[in-house]
């Protein structure tokens, strides 16, 4: 394994670790979401009417395993494998 291949592996590992950390930090959801539900603050009238807090949709991207994390990870693995192979071939040619 030459230096270029090592760099490719290192970058791939950092990217994979980064995306999985982001996914876990986002709540480890199975599916990516376009937004989240947030409970609205209740007014005194709402309480007097015996209502429960209303849910309000807030647009916010939540990274899920599918499709974003999986697609990104797959792309990183495929590109890394291609680069790894290319750099290996180049080194072999240089050796000859």
């Amino acid at each position: 394994m030459n230096n270029r291949q090592k760099i490719v592996l290192l970058i791939a590992a950092v990217l994979l670790l980064g995306v999985f950390t982001w996914w876990l930090a986002s709540g480890g959801e199975v599916l990516s979401k376009d937004g989240i539900w947030v409970e609205k603050e209740m007014t005194e009238l709402d309480k007097a009417l015996g209502l429960k807090p209303e849910l309000e949709f807030h647009e916010k991207f939540v990274l899920g395993l599918l499709p974003h994390t999986a697609v990104f990870s797959g792309a990183v693995i495929v590109i890394s494998a291609i680069l790894f192979f290319i750099f290996k071939t180049k080194k072999n040619k240089e050796t000859k």
Binding site: S32, L45, A48, L49, G50, L51, K52, E54, L55
Partner: protein, 211 residues
């Protein structure tokens, strides 16, 4: 004989009045409450939980009317409906699936409706608040099934505070019930097994008798 009949009649009326469970508020007689809110503050939601994912769907497009005698909640009649096209789950693609022909088919069946047939198990909590079970016909995806909903109703006389929401007396309704999707011929496969067959539905609405 006439005296006996009169006494008997008075007794029946008195017993009926004491059995009748309702609100002790300023209003009396039959009142009709309209749940249409142009500001979209009424809300109906569904919740599905599976080991894979929890899904919440919401709509603020809730319509309906109920009529009842204030002193006797068992006289309650009416219906509440929601528009299928306005349900949001937080994922646009899933919302499209939900509206599609294989799911709730919003094109053919644009509304999900609950028609009240009977009120039972009334529990008066205070003069303006009570709990009850509402039996009615729940229609979705062209299929109608009888369901029982747990309901809490709160009656507020018109005041400066209630005017913030709507004119007239207000009726706050909080209802909860469960349905089984397969009972309504909904093909669960489109969204995958990520949606549970047993769905919890909640309704959080306010109606006015002056609209």
């Amino acid at each position: 004989m006439k005296t006996i009949l009169k006494t008997f009649l008075i007794l029946i009326v008195a017993i009926s009045a004491s059995i009748a469970q309702g609100f002790k508020v300023k209003a009396s007689g039959d009142q009709t409450f309209n749940f249409e809110d142009k500001y979209g503050r009424n809300q109906a939601s569904f919740f599905s939980t599976t080991p894979l994912e929890d899904i919440t769907g919401i709509t603020n497009d809730v319509k309906g009317k109920v009529t009842f005698n204030v002193a006797d909640i068992k006289t309650l009649k009416g219906s509440v409906s929601i528009s299928v096209a306005t349900i949001k789950t937080g994922i646009d693609l899933r919302d499209e699936h939900l509206r599609s022909d294989n799911w709730l088919d919003a094109g053919t069946y644009p509304e999900v409706t609950f028609v009240i047939k009977k009120v039972s198990d009334v529990n008066v909590i205070s003069d303006n608040k009570l709990e009850a079970k509402l039996t009615g016909d729940f229609s979705a995806h062209g299929v109608t099934k009888e369901i029982v909903a747990d309901v809490t109703m709160t009656y507020l006389d018109a005041s400066e505070q209630t005017k913030q929401r709507a004119p007239g007396d207000l009726l706050g309704v909080q209802a909860k019930f469960n349905i089984v999707l397969s009972d309504y011929d909904v093909e669960n496969m489109i969204v995958g097994q990520k949606v549970a067959d047993n769905i919890e539905i909640s309704v959080n609405i306010v109606g006015s008798n002056a609209m």
